[in-house]
């Protein structure tokens, strides 16, 4: 079974993608070729941008089952309306109107069970695409790409995670920003969580929220401080008070930011940054070998 690492951060733009693709690249080169990166930031999937030579293996639509009401069978009893917790169904008996609003529907199936007249059935509606790429020379990248206008990002993340391979040694999940349901979905199956932060007041505030979330879920975590040297020392103070391990610190270098901007990040990496990744990977390897395959929720 692979060791699964999720890279997350409450605040956006702290460097989740940079860290995730660098770990992927360095682990595939130096530790094991059997590695998969899964881009769960389905609203803005960016990992693949940094691998222009990636070879597309497969692409498939991701769908959500949307119920529809057959007016010829509907008796307008409104039981489905009462059972729908998401206010997605409108039934107006006097005018014979019965409709389901697909943008509010969570595809829970309650209305279908509720209907005693067999008037509700489901059909698939596209919410995005799921792609898998091979990276030269090693590694697999999978991504989910939310269809523009769809609000079903969490469902798509759930489906992208099903792309996880069994015969790899490592899986890295690149999480979306935030601390709400899409992030929970991304980190739920991970064995270890890396939180990426920056040493600024925004970075610290959002880090605290994310630490609270990961502790609620009961997963082990470590922090990478990105853009180190900018801002202040309060992130460090907080982490030492909370006894949270700092896996590494990536110094802020303007030239490196420019390299990232261009999408060219694996060549000409400053030595100090290279050394940081090396030591972070060493720490992750220790984690993975002491890992016993127990991935239950510990709530």
């Amino acid at each position: 079974m692979p060791f699964k690492i999720a890279v997350a951060s409450g605040k956006g733009g702290t460097g989740k993608t940079t860290i995730a693709i660098n770990l992927f690249h360095n682990i595939s080169k130096e530790v094991t070729p059997k590695i998969q990166l899964i881009d769960c930031d389905v609203e803005e999937p960016n990992d693949i941008l940094f691998f222009p030579d990636a070879k597309l293996n497969s692409a498939q639509p991701a769908t959500q089952s949307i119920p529809t009401i057959d007016n010829s069978k509907c008796t307008y009893c409104r039981k489905c309306v009462e059972w729908c917790e998401f206010n997605a169904i409108v039934v107006i008996p006097p005018v014979g109107f019965a409709e389901i609003n697909s943008s509010l529907c969570h595809s829970c199936g309650a209305c279908i069970v509720a209907c005693e007249y067999g008037a509700i059935s489901e059909k698939p509606e596209e919410i995005g695409t799921i792609k898998q790429y091979s990276i030269d020379p090693h590694g697999i990248i999978s991504e989910g790409r939310l269809k523009i206008g769809s609000a079903m990002q969490t469902l798509l993340i759930k489906q992208v995670k099903q792309q996880a391979l069994d015969d790899v040694d490592f899986i890295i999940f690149d999480a979306p920003p935030g601390t709400s349901c899409p992030v929970v979905e991304t980190v739920a199956d991970a064995d270890y969580i890396i939180l990426v932060t920056e040493p600024t007041p925004f970075g610290l505030y959002d880090l605290k929220l994310t630490v609270e979330l990961v502790r609620d879920i009961g997963k082990p975590l470590g922090v990478i401080i990105n853009k180190a040297g900018l801002g202040d020392h309060k992130v460090h103070d907080y982490l030492s008070e909370e006894h949270i391990e700092i896996l590494g610190e990536i110094p802020y270098r303007r030239e490196y930011a420019a390299q990232y901007a261009k999408g060219d990040i694996f060549e000409k990496i400053p030595g100090e940054i290279k050394a940081q990744y090396k030591s972070i990977i060493q720490k992750l390897l220790v984690r993975s070998t002491s890992y016993e395959g127990d991935n239950h929720f510990k709530w």
């Binding site: 956006g12 702290t14 803005e44 941008l49 069970v113 990002q153 349901c181 930011a257 901007a261």
Partner: protein, 292 residues
């Protein structure tokens, strides 16, 4: 009254710092933090809370082991894979996977399942040195951020009407999913903050595609344009092609972070900085647009 929403697609491009700067320039506005997931605007505006409200989030179900007859009907019906056996071999609902649809509760033949509604989310109306701020705090891992965004925006609009304010300025969430859609729908104009990187450009393209479905007047700012001038040029071409006016190009300056560390807007930090001058001009252009 005009509602302006600041969005970016990609996170960390500077939405909140720029919203805060506009707050210190705009005289006549109500401010609203639409990034309810990781709300940061209050860190700069230092609000004094005047009203506090609980936002009822989704339901979470749980099973009463003593009345459960272990029939497994709930497991068969749950589409969210939330019901599993625990180490005592009892059926148990994982609260983080539970979607709150309450189907299990309704079909349980012995009424062993009940649900409680989360009241872990709050939203506030506060006073700040720049005017009124409506903001929220979501409990970790909560759902329905889109609904909470609609709720804070609704209150901000009501207050703006009450005060006869000319603007509501919304600090938007990253992404293009449910929170971004809630932040966009019905707003009067969008100000995009774009960062010159391959990801920044890629994400702003997706955002523009989303905004197009709403037909909302859109403007853009390039933040840290000099980090990669060539990509900034590409962004300008893209904006031109989409007929989105570029209102300003902000250089990279560590003062942005230094101001944040001091809890100040960039304009308060140093009124004479190039960034401050640019942002004042940006606000002027937005106001002019509103008059037309």
């Amino acid at each position: 009254m005009k509602e302006i929403t600041i969005l970016s697609g990609k996170g960390g491009t500077g939405k909140t710092s720029i919203t805060a700067a506009l707050a210190s320039i705009a005289r006549d506005a109500v401010f609203c933090d639409n990034d309810v997931d990781a709300a940061d605007l209050h860190l700069i505006l230092s609000p004094t809370v005047r009203e506090e409200h609980v936002f009822s989030g989704g339901w979470t179900a749980s099973i009463d082991v003593t009345s459960c007859i272990d029939c497994g009907i709930c497991t068969d019906h749950c589409r969210f894979d939330a019901i599993h056996r625990n180490s005592f071999n009892n059926l148990e609902i994982n609260p983080f996977k539970c979607e709150g649809c309450r189907l299990c509760e309704r079909i349980c033949p012995v009424q062993a399942i009940s649900s409680v509604r989360s009241n872990n989310n709050s939203w506030f109306v506060s006073d700040t040195r720049f005017g009124t701020l409506v903001h929220a705090k979501m409990g970790p891992g909560e759902e329905n951020s889109g609904k909470l965004v609609s709720e804070v925006r609704k209150r901000a609009r009501e207050l703006a009407k009450e005060y006869n304010a000319s603007y509501v300025i919304n600090d938007g969430p990253p992404g293009i999913g449910c929170a971004a859609i809630s932040s966009l729908s019905g707003t009067g104009m969008v100000l995009m903050v774009i960062e010159p990187s391959v990801s920044g450009l890629h994400d702003s393209r997706r955002l523009v595609e989303l905004i197009d479905t709403f037909s909302i007047p859109t403007f853009a700012l390039i933040n840290k344009y000099d980090i990669h001038p060539e990509i900034s040029e590409e962004i300008k071409l893209f904006l031109k092609e989409k007929s989105i006016p570029l209102l300003g190009e902000i250089p990279f300056d560590k003062s942005m972070v230094e101001a944040m560390v001091e809890g100040k807007t960039i304009v308060e930090f140093d009124d004479k900085l190039e960034i401050s001058t640019i942002l004042k001009a940006v606000w002027k252009k937005l106001e002019d647009f509103n008059v037309l």
